[in-house]
């Protein structure tokens, strides 16, 4: 049960397992963003869930085509923001009114009004850091090792090539059938990716 959950969470981060033959999945290349969206729709309709597309830029409509819901990054930003707000309030109240009260022109030791700028800045700071840390955490980054990097062609994914990767631990995965599906969806090139945890080949 716990293993399934871990696999599920990892899949949401685009980290997939391998099968007994060390097969990580099939990597299919498509011609353009339009074909890739179409292919993602096709793969999703065929029932696959553990797959991901790789493109040099975010493609409009891809989340819908892959059947992904809304991103949860906002929760982290909200949590960060509230933490920052509370930190700003408590810091100024405790230092100004409790630990080290100073009489400045007879003003109250602590009041909300002059504390707003610092509270505001810390809210923004913590919310921004929350959004970024949350984003990287939910993406499972940093992750320097990725079996997809074994593919020579995959280097183009950050330039001008569009890939769809179906993981071998998807319940519908079958090398022959999945390969045929990808080709019928217009893949110009399909290759198996193995996860053998080999060291980087020398450049």
């Amino acid at each position: 049960m716990l293993k399934d959950l871990a696999e599920h969470v990892k899949a949401s981060m685009s980290i997939f397992g391998r099968d007994d033959t060390d097969l990580y999945g099939l990597l299919a290349e498509f011609k353009n963003p339009g074909e890739l969206v179409h292919a993602a729709e096709g793969v999703h309709t065929a029932g696959y869930r553990r797959f991901d597309t790789h493109s040099p830029f975010p493609i409009h409509g891809m989340d819908k085509a892959m059947g992904l819901g809304n991103s949860k990054v906002g929760v982290f930003a909200l949590g960060g923001g509230l933490t920052g707000l509370a930190t700003g309030y408590l810091l100024q109240w405790w230092t100004g009114a409790i630990d080290y009260p100073l009489n400045i022109s007879g003003k109250p030791a602590f009041a909300v009004e002059p504390s707003i700028p610092v509270m505001f800045e810390l809210t923004i700071l913590f919310a921004a850091l929350g959004a970024v840390v949350g984003m990287f955490a939910m993406n499972g980054l940093p992750r320097p090792y990725n079996p997809l990097f074994y593919s020579r062609r995959f280097a183009q994914a950050s330039d001008d090539a569009f890939f769809l990767h179906v993981a071998s631990n998807d319940k519908y995965f079958d090398v022959e059938q999945t390969g045929d599906l990808l080709r019928s969806l217009g893949a110009v090139h399909v290759e198996p990716i193995f996860d053998r945890e080999e060291a980087d080949e020398d450049l």
């Binding site: 353009n32 975010p58 970024v132 320097p144 330039d159």
Partner: protein, 480 residues
């Protein structure tokens, strides 16, 4: 990329916008155009520019060392002008930074896609300008070894900072601004560093870029969270940037000095900051796009749009100058009336009219389309704007202080050579950082520019989102 099935046709020519990217560039062309400058051998001209920037940087360091050794007496400060170049330079540099955040955050929220060509370099400029700005409050405290008292650090004296002071709000505003800008910039860089990593041919370069790109693969599950985080950062940076210069203006507005104690300061400072920042972006990019041959990505139409923003914000700033005068007269407070008359016709009238002509009068020439699109004209004007904006801060700071409530303490402020050299030296830091940026970092957001090409939209190919694939694949599928 083959683009045989375009759909963007049939619009009346007058309604067609100029393309964001000129020269019919493909995705790969954009990668190539931007990446190659970080990959080729360092050109000799770069070393030349870097040497000059380093000499200026050295000047800054020597001036700071001299200041630390002798104390703030080496500056031209006197009584009553206790705030001189240090605060002027601080406000000047923070203001320059604001354009970067405006481009990266506010224009993003307004879906102004032309920002993609300039946001990377503008954000870098923000970071370096804020670095320059942070130097000045740091060194002007006099006893630099006590500068850490500005931060709430537990200490053996059992003291805490005084949070009711706008100067302390400034510490928080500017340092948060720097941190958030840095994070925003880095998040934007990750996909582009991955592009450079995948192109790297040397092992060390690949390792270093691999480290900083965090193993980015362009996975859509990642883009999904990435885009959301980017949107949130933009939404957070927008109120932040407005707050930063507002807080800076509180340094003045919360005091009771005539000419400073006005509620118009926050919006007027923010408009001025964007004005000067855009001028600096134009100055830098006019040179950079030419030297690096990316005129197709940063087109004349991008520059024109920036010039329109310069015209708009310059007019807002000019309007604020006039409003200040009106309110001084309308308030009936004799000190306020005197402060403003003294600004325009007193001993610093030369500075005032430099400010007025550079900020309000000259930018009005941008109403003329031909001038807006003329590279030499906009280059000269962008420099004039920054001279004008530096003088604005000088006028606000010095003219208000040199004639305070007590005529017996009136004096005339003249900067010393150390003042001037410190300011000139801060440009050394700015240009050193900017040159390093141009050399090692992709100066245009590659993935963002690709994403605004018409070919990036799935609808361009006739399917996606509710439509089914109409075209059979033209290439024969193969398996290894």
């Amino acid at each position: 990329m083959s683009t045989d099935t375009g759909t963007a046709s049939g619009t009346h020519p007058a309604l067609q916008e100029e393309p964001l990217v000129a020269g019919n560039l493909s995705f790969h062309d954009i990668t190539e155009l931007v990446s190659r400058h970080t990959e080729k051998r360092t050109p000799l001209a770069w070393f030349g520019a870097f040497a000059i920037a380093n000499i200026l940087l050295l000047t800054l360091l020597v001036c700071i060392a001299y200041l630390f050794w002798n104390g703030t007496g080496v500056w031209g400060l006197n009584n009553p002008v206790g705030w001189g170049y240090a605060i002027v330079n601080f406000v000047f540099w923070v203001g320059i930074g604001h354009a970067g955040t405006l481009i990266s955050a506010i224009l993003f929220l307004f879906r102004q896609q032309w920002r993609t060509a300039i946001n990377r370099s503008a954000e870098a400029m923000t970071l370096f300008a804020v670095m320059c700005a942070l130097i000045f409050p740091g060194i002007h405290v006099g006893r630099v070894w006590a500068a850490y008292w500005m931060l709430p650090i537990p200490n053996q004296m059992e003291m805490w900072p005084q949070f009711k002071s706008p100067l302390l709000w400034d510490v928080f505003a500017v340092s948060v601004y720097f941190t958030v800008s840095l994070v925003f910039w880095y998040v934007g860089l990750v996909p582009d560093l991955a592009t450079l990593r995948d192109r790297a041919t040397k092992k060390l370069r690949r390792r270093v870029l691999g480290f900083f790109s965090m193993g980015w693969t362009g996975a859509n599950r990642h883009w999904r969270n990435y885009e959301k985080a980017y949107l949130l950062l933009a939404a957070l940076a927008t109120p932040l940037v407005l707050s930063v210069h507002s807080v800076v203006s509180f340094d003045f507005a919360v005091s009771i000095v005539p000419g400073w104690h006005t509620t118009i300061f926050p919006p007027y400072f923010v408009a001025g900051a964007i004005f000067s920042g855009f001028a600096m972006v134009v100055t830098l990019l006019v040179i950079a796009r030419k030297v690096y041959g990316i005129e197709d990505i940063i087109t004349i139409s991008h520059l024109e749009k920036m010039n329109i923003i310069i015209l708009l914000t310059g007019t807002m700033v000019g309007f604020a100058y006039i409003t200040e005068f009106f309110i001084a007269w309308y308030s009936g407070v004799q000190y306020e009336v005197f402060a403003f008359k003294n600004r325009a016709f007193g001993p610093y009238a030369w500075a005032y009219w430099t400010m007025m002509s550079c900020n309000l009068i000259f930018p009005q020439l941008f109403w003329i389309k031909r001038l807006r699109r003329s590279i030499p004209f906009m280059f000269v004007l962008s420099i004039l704007v920054n001279i004008g904006m530096w003088f604005e801060r000088f006028v606000i700071t010095v003219t208000s202080l040199h004639r305070d409530y007590l005529p017996s303490s009136w004096d005339y402020y003249t900067p010393t050579a150390i003042d001037v050299l410190t300011f000139v030296g801060s440009f050394g830091l700015f240009f050193t950082m900017f040159l390093l940026f141009l050399r090692f970092v992709p100066m245009v957001a590659i993935s963002e520019v690709k994403a605004v090409l018409p070919e990036a939209d799935p609808h361009f190919y006739g399917h996606g989102d509710g439509q089914t694939g109409a075209h059979p694949p033209t290439l024969t599928p193969t398996v290894d």
